[in-house]
Structures are given as C-alpha cells and as structure tokens.
Symmetry: C2
DNA sequence: GGGCAAATTAGGGAAATTCCCTATTCTGCC
DNA sequence: GGCAGAATAGGGAATTTCCCTAATTTGCCC
C-alpha cells in the first residue's frame, strides 16, 4: 500500500512541483493539496493521510500552529516541515509542535524521498544544516528559554497577530475565526500588552521578524 | 582651505567611524554630525558645508527627501549618498534628488576619499556596482517609469507614511511636523488611496519594501 | 501673465473602533 | 478540588477614522 500524502504550501508552483516530483515515486500518492493552515487542518480530518508535507510560513494559519492542532487531533499523522529559512525559532517551534522532520526548501529530491522513508518508519529526519541548530538548542542550559512569539503568546494570540499583520481588521478576523469581534479585541489587547507594543506598525514588524508574515504585500 | 563636511547617519557607530576615518585625511574637516534628516536640514542651513555624507535610510526624514530639500535651499552643497543597499529605486531616487555620488557602505576608505575628491570638483562619483544600475536605468525606454513611493507620493506624504510605519500615531506625527492632526489625516487618506492600501499593516510592509523604514522594532 | 493641477493646510460631524472593565466557561495541571 | 491561564464576549466611555468641503500655495504650461 502506498503512502498517502497531503501537500501544504501557499505557493501554487511549489505545491504543483512537489506533487509532480512525488508522483514519480512509487509507493507514494498525493491525495490533496492545501494553500493555508486551516485548509490543511480540514483536509487532515477528512482524509487522515500518512504524511503532511507542511510549509512553515503560510498565510492565515502558519504551519507550526497547524501542525500542533493536527497532531493533537490525530497523532498518527507524520508532519514533514518544509521551510526556506533555517531560523532557529522555526526549527525549535516546529519540532516542539511535533513535526517528524525538517527540510530546507533548497534540498534535492533525493533528500525529500529519504526524509519520507525515514519518518514513515517513525524516526526523525532533519536537513544536515538543521541538525546543528537542534543540537545547539539541546546543549543550551534550560532557563535561557527561547524568547519568541511561539513561547510568549498563546496559539490564538499568534493567530490573531498573524491575521492583523496580514492587513485584516478586527471584524474580518472575527468572521474568519467565527468568534465575536469583542473576543478578537481581547486577544489583541492581551498580545499587545504581552509584547509591549501599542501600534499596528510595530506589531507588523514584529510579526515579520518572527516569520508570522512576510514583508510582501 | 579644507573641505567642510557634515556626516548624516542614524547609527552612532557609523557616524563616529566615518568621522574618525575622515579626520585622518588632510584637507578634510567634519564640522557636524546628524542622526536624522531634519537635523541634517538644519545643520546644513547653519553651517553651509561643502559636502554632506548622507545615509539613504534614516528615521524621521529619509536621506532622499532631505537631499532634495537641502539642495533646493543651497545648490552649492554636494551630497554624497551612502547606503547599505544597491536597490535601484534608492539609487535612481537619490540621483534625481541631486546627489553628486552614491557609495555602498561596504566600500573601502580609499573609495570614500576618492569619491570626496571627485564630487568636490563638481563631478559625479558612483560605486562600481552602482554604475550598472544607472546605465540600465538610462537605457530603459522612457514611459516605463519607476513605480516607487518616490514618484507616486508627494514628499509630505512620504514623510507621513514613514512616520506611520515607524509606529507614530496621527497626533504624534502632527506634533512632530508642527501641523494639525487634521492635516496629517488628510495626508494619510490621500496616500493610502494612492497606494490602494487601507490598513496600517500593509502600509508598514509597503514602507519596508520601499526602504522608508526597516523591519527592526 | 493667467490659469490649471497638484500639494498642503485644516475644520465639521457622523460612524466606527479602541480601550478598559468585568465575567463566564473550559482545560490542563499539581 | 482548585487554581492559573486561555478563550470567549458584553457594556460604555473615549478616541479615531472617514468623508466632505475649502482656503492657500506652488509649480508649470501655453
């Protein structure tokens, strides 16, 4: 029986490219594609795939929070993180979220298939460049914790922050998340006081620095 | 008689470094330093220097608009632009503003002194990497104009945009520019409709892309 | 030089949003 | 069991935005 895979990436070309590449492998079947975290979440529920190849930086709901939720609902799914950046924050957060592997986007096809083979057998696969980061993080004394959006803020707060930094109004966010605008307001106020930021401009810059959104319009 | 110079750069280390370097040259005197565009403007009025070494990306009032105003008031001053980026937009805008030279920040001291010698004699000095860009821009058909903040927006609009992207409120901007908050509002509304952007988050990203502000907090 | 378009300035007033306080429910954890 | 933190949301005062209008200035084209 072949490995059933969902591809999650916001760039259409990347999705299609990956799909094309994986279709040439035997024992592999791409059952769905998603262009944001929420869609991935729902597809994972419906299809229960073996593996999700997950882009870390996606609009709407990022790969890290999506991974966390998906694995909470179905721990049998393996998540293979795929990212452009080797940023420590992303790696640590993704692995904490329960990802089974972390690949850099400039890797060769062979590495992708190797990674798939590895994680399907329940082991962890990391890009060579990533291993150093993980070891470094492991060696560091506990106490000097990661000071990033992924430790200071709650998941909902990050979600609201990201949507704000993508240019959504309080109302739009409320609609998107199916909650009251008042609730979104609450999240906003709390996360801004946590970050000690009191304006949208700096909040946007923070989100860019933390990789929750890109500087593209 | 020695060349009287003003150094304008927002980073203290850079300013001090440049000053130190230039002090070792004979026939050169650093008469003042400024850390933003407005300060440079005033110092230029007071001191009428021979040359201003001007950082392109400064908070408050950027180097491009500062250059434009300074040269408008005193065309005898030579402005030597200094920048980290070789971005086409900056180069074109800076030269349009009337700069006599454009240096990249990673150049050697020799290049700086060469540039000073060159522009003091009324000629133009460009970093080698910059020359290509200028030629390219020259070769391009007129008609396909630069679509950047420096052509679409008025100077006041850019100024307001930058201050917004730096996290200032309408009131704070009004105080800074000594105009009514109502006027700032007017500028904001107009520039946002020009850019077809209706929220601060995207506006901040636009300002980052255009180099009017950085992604740092 | 007359005039036109664009820039800069700014007020009035309705509408929307933010800010702060309070409160309930749920979940994980010791 | 209970406690801390997260997620939810309402009320109401205060602030800000949004849209309209308008005066003055400025540069520029014929």
């Amino acid at each position: 029986m072949s490995i059933r895979i969902i591809i999650a990436d916001d760039h259409t070309i990347v999705r299609h490219g990956l799909t094309k590449l994986l279709q040439q492998e035997k024992d592999v079947e791409v059952v769905a594609q998603a262009q944001n975290g929420h869609a991935t979440l729902e597809l994972a529920r419906e299809l229960s795939p073996d593996v999700i190849v997950m882009d870390v930086g996606m609009p709407d709901l990022n790969g890290i929070d999506a991974t966390q939720q998906i694995l909470h609902e179905n721990p049998n799914i393996k998540v293979l993180a795929l990212s452009m950046h080797a940023g420590k924050k992303f790696v640590v957060a993704m692995l904490k979220a329960g990802a089974s592997g972390y690949l850099l986007k400039d890797c060769a096809l062979e590495e992708l298939t190797t990674a798939l083979q590895t994680i399907i057998y329940g082991r962890i696969y990391l890009s060579p460049a990533i291993t150093d980061i993980v070891v470094d993080s492991y060696v560091r004394q506990p106490g000097e914790a990661e000071q990033s959006a992924f430790s200071v803020l709650s998941q909902r707060e990050r979600e609201v922050l990201q949507l704000m930094a993508e240019g959504n109004t309080t109302k739009q966010i409320a609609l998107r998340l199916h909650i009251s605008p008042k609730t979104v307001e609450g999240h906003r106020l709390r996360l801004m006081s946590k970050l000690n930021i009191d304006n949208i401009a700096q909040l946007t810059k923070y989100a860019i620095q933390e990789g929750l959104t890109s500087a593209e319009l």
